[in-house]
Point group: C2
Chain length 289, copies 2
């Protein structure tokens, strides 16, 4: 997805929000906003928004001197979802369509997002998404590709969400490789977070090698790129991964809640809609891409 | 009121919104955002936000080549309120406290604001504000000062709002000078708008001389400054005038709806609260300042 004009004020807003989480020093935050303001003129609008996000969060680290501003928030989110875990399992056990319910729960976790300017409530999100209609639901394609796949590459999004991902991964019933960010960026999932959420019990956890809050292929490491190219099935969680991968020529399933109005528009859905969307998928093939 | 860090992304957002109203040329709007982005580093945070607003709207005129982007919107707003006028008079006629009702109506018109990122509905605003509790209501001070005043200086805000102001001005029962912006800025009231709304039938209409969406004294003309200094009573409408005048050493009545969270915080009220607030007023004096 390209960068829209609306993304520019939003980037400054994100920098302010993240700067305030990193430090109470208003001068440092002003320096950060000055820096991002000056960079607006250099943003290539054909790039996806997380490419600028990558630079913004690097500047936040440099200017505030804080490597992982969301460390405590991420731990709190993971613990909150772990405390909900028995209830989530209960929801799964009484479900008539376990795969679809697991997909819904994986989307419920997608509300835990500090990149967008929205309040969230995790238990409320679960209750809502369990009955919410999908704006796009490519479930049959998902089911077919899953049946044929020898293994699945699963691109993680935020840290707390990874506990929900564990439920879907268990339900997939295939060997899964779970992909995390190389270093802490916003509240996105890192290797440490994935281990804290117990994800390593159900999947191999690898880093994409990128410091961006997304999967920007040109910034990913060779190991990840090989797996990305060879995978029988790829599940991409969340907005950042959508923004960076919506234009690739590769079969993929996007699983997300459209919290940002621009991403919603790009997907041709309404804000707050939930989506399971297949791209570049040809019904004939196995692992087609 | 000083500029808060939160004002900076908001200024970029305002520039985008106004740029889009002025032109559909995305390149020009990007140039505008580049320019505002670069200027962030030079914003003196001790200045009031409309001082930057003044520069932003000048840049919008320069870069888009459109002198009055809100011309049609302002005319439509005035016509909408003029169509409501009989109903507003009906509300006045059945009121038990005509002065307070006229004050409420004058605040109802304050929702017509394209500087803040909020939708508004004028008839709904009237219905709501007619019964809404005031967060601050210095009505007795207002009444006392009005009784003693030989005349009133009334600082206008937006164009459509001026039709509501006409009702309050009539109710004041004193000679009123109504102050407008020197040139079109956002949807603020100009001399032409005030005449279109019939305001000239009840008040002398003068310009403050400033091109800012506010009353920045250092940018006002000498005639206005003399009247400002000599006035027995000053009524200041809306957020922009509050931002620019909240720090002056002059008795004033602010009349507004706190649509912006920062202005609400500065006033120590909640967002969307309505306010009639006296400052620098000593109960002993006549025209004290």
């Amino acid at each position: 997805m390209k960068t829209y004009l609306d993304c520019l004020p939003c980037m400054l807003q994100q920098a302010l929000r993240a700067g305030r989480i990193a430090t109470t020093d208003e001068k440092k935050i002003k320096t950060l906003l000055n820096t991002i303001g000056m960079m607006i003129q250099d943003i290539p609008m054909d790039n996806s928004p997380p490419e600028m996000g990558n630079i913004i969060y690097r500047k936040i680290r440099e200017i505030t001197g804080v490597y992982d501003p969301y460390k405590k928030i991420k731990a709190d989110n993971i613990n909150e979802v772990l405390a909900l875990y028995p209830e989530l399992i209960h929801i799964m056990n009484k479900s008539k369509n376990r795969l679809l319910t697991a997909i819904r729960l994986a989307i419920a976790g997608n509300v835990i997002d500090f990149g967008v300017n929205k309040e969230f409530n995790i238990p409320q999100s679960v209750q809502q998404i369990i009955t919410q209609d999908f704006a796009i639901l490519d479930l049959e394609l998902f089911h077919d590709q899953l049946e044929k796949a020898r293994s699945v590459l699963y691109l993680g999004d935020n840290a707390g969400e990874s506990v929900f991902d564990k439920i879907l991964i268990t339900e997939l019933g295939k060997p899964v490789t779970y992909v995390v960010r190389a270093i802490p960026v916003i509240n996105d999932v890192t290797k440490e977070d994935a281990i804290n959420s117990g994800l390593d019990e159900v999947a191999e956890v690898i880093s994409s090698g990128t410091t961006a809050p997304a999967t920007i292929l040109s910034l990913c490491n060779d190991d990840f790129l090989k797996r990305f190219n060879d995978a029988d099935m790829i599940i991409s969680k969340g907005q950042g991964n959508y923004e960076s991968l919506s234009g690739v020529e590769r079969s993929l399933f996007f699983l997300l809640k459209a919290k940002c109005p621009l991403i919603a528009r790009d997907l041709n859905v309404a804000e707050n809609d939930i989506v399971l969307k297949a791209i570049n998928l040809h019904e004939t093939g196995f692992g087609t891409h």
